[in-house]
């Protein structure tokens, strides 16, 4: 039996831990050990972005990160976007703008768009298309995804202005 390590990190604000072999990929730990199946496995070759999660403020493809690399990290997955039964502005906007059809890419799109808006709250259409270019969608042709991110950006800006 290969040597295993206990890895602890914060997942959507909660402390979690898992016992893993060094070769275990983060996406498997999330889905199979921590019962967070929101992040999907699409290509498993770093291309499609369906497994995108947020680790320490970076959008990463969880099929290309070892769980042992995440010890002590802060993780956000699609399950962490909704708060107290209220959808995140991005989730609401994807719903309203029809930013998905089959929905397979959506968890990755949402977590990636979340980080994009954190870094750039007022993105141009080009910024959005460039910023989500690591996430493939085979249904929408991207147009409604771009609209959804634009709509969410406007709503978040309005909310921030109201709070200020």
């Amino acid at each position: 039996m290969a040597k295993t390590y206990k890895v602890a990190f914060k997942l959507n604000g909660k402390d979690v831990a898992a016992e893993v072999e060094p070769r275990e990929l983060l996406i498997y730990t999330l889905r199979e050990k921590l019962a967070h199946t929101g992040s999907h496995i699409g290509c498993e070759t770093t291309h499609c972005g369906a497994c995108t999660v947020d680790v320490d403020g970076m959008s990463v493809k969880a099929c290309t990160v070892l769980t042992v690399q995440c010890d002590g990290s802060q993780l956000l997955t699609v399950e962490g976007l909704e708060q107290g039964g209220v959808l995140h502005a991005l989730q609401q906007a994807f719903h309203e703008e029809h930013g998905l059809q089959c929905g397979y890419c959506t968890p990755g799109m949402l977590t990636r768009a979340y980080r994009l808006l954190q870094e750039n709250p007022n993105p141009t259409e080009h910024d959005i298309r460039y910023g989500i270019s690591g996430n493939l969608c085979r249904c929408t042709g991207y147009q409604n995804i771009v609209k959804a991110v634009q709509s969410a950006a406007r709503k978040l800006a309005a909310t921030a202005a109201k709070a200020a």
Binding site: E21, R23, T45, T46, G49, K61, T64, L66, G134
Partner: protein
């Protein structure tokens, strides 16, 4: 898509990493951003017994001006390069080149040092480093040596880096004020390697070329310095005739592999086109005084 088993080490200092690498011997591989190595391990093209993760060593990250050079820690990510105000001002060629690498998620993890050390001719930093006339600091159990990018890339996945050594820093001489730049990369889609790409750094004096650096990506088993094209251009005006001859000289050293991106003749022709475009774009940006 699960890598073969290995043991994992995460040293906190460079000294510890060098010692570990020496103790573990040839079965150990360095893990930088992991976006070349981990995919290779998942495909079982690589099966190291040990991974030494450089990701927890703060001294290997950062971008700073030191005298007449920009120093970049080898573990600085592509994302960090793109967001650096210092680089945008002083070495915009590096920022433009980096913006063409892979996709956002890969750029959060991928590092400049990993891209250079991997020795993959499809990687973009080697040609950028050749155009910028960069040097690399290599540290090992016997101390540090500094080597030029020109001469560093020996062949497919082969560089001057010796077993037991770690590339710790990239050093770029500050381009003179008014220097023009361009990275022209033809690729089929986001995330793909270049079909052909050319990096140009161009300094003019009046209407003639004072100094030019030209690097080529994915057109041979290593990145290439287009030396004959550089030598030809010095003292010339950038006009149609010069562009054609420089492109011809760049194409004459290409030896690309045929693959799904095209055959050797097509890739070589695209090298000519990327070289023309990069020279013209750099010329448009260069100060002519």
């Amino acid at each position: 898509m699960i890598p073969a088993g290995f043991d994992y080490h995460a040293p906190r200092t460079l000294a510890d990493a060098i010692k570990l690498l020496g103790d573990l011997g040839p079965d150990a591989r360095l893990l930088a951003g992991g976006h070349s190595l981990l995919p290779m391990m998942k495909l079982r093209f690589a099966e190291p017994a040990h991974l030494v993760d450089l990701g927890k060593i703060p001294e290997l990250r950062g971008i700073a001006q030191v005298g007449n050079e920009i120093h970049i820690g080898a573990m600085t990510t592509e994302h960090d390069l793109l967001r650096s105000a210092l680089l945008a001002e002083k070495v915009p060629l590096l920022v433009e080149g980096t913006s063409w690498i892979a996709d956002p998620q890969v750029r959060y993890k991928g590092t400049i040092g990993g891209d250079i050390s991997h020795g993959d001719p499809g990687n973009d930093h080697p040609a950028l480093m050749l155009a910028l006339d960069a040097s690399f600091a290599l540290k090992g159990p016997r101390g540090e040596r500094v080597v030029k990018a020109d001469g560093y890339f020996l062949g497919l996945y082969s560089t001057l880096l010796e077993p037991g050594e770690i590339l710790t820093q990239i050093r770029i001489p500050l381009p003179a004020a008014g220097t023009g730049w361009s990275y022209q990369k033809l690729k089929r889609k986001t995330g793909d390697f270049a079909t052909a790409a050319t990096a140009v750094l161009l300094q003019m004096k009046g209407n003639s070329v004072a100094k030019v650096g030209i690097g080529l990506t994915n057109l041979a088993p290593t990145a290439l310095k287009a030396r004959a094209a550089e030598d030809y251009l010095v003292g010339k005006a950038i006009d149609e005739r010069a562009l054609t001859e420089a492109a011809r000289l760049a194409m004459s050293i290409c030896d690309p592999m045929q693959d799904q991106r095209g055959d050797a003749a097509y890739k070589t022709a695209m090298c000519g086109e990327m070289t023309r475009r990069a020279l013209a774009a750099a010329h448009a940006r260069a100060s002519k005084s």
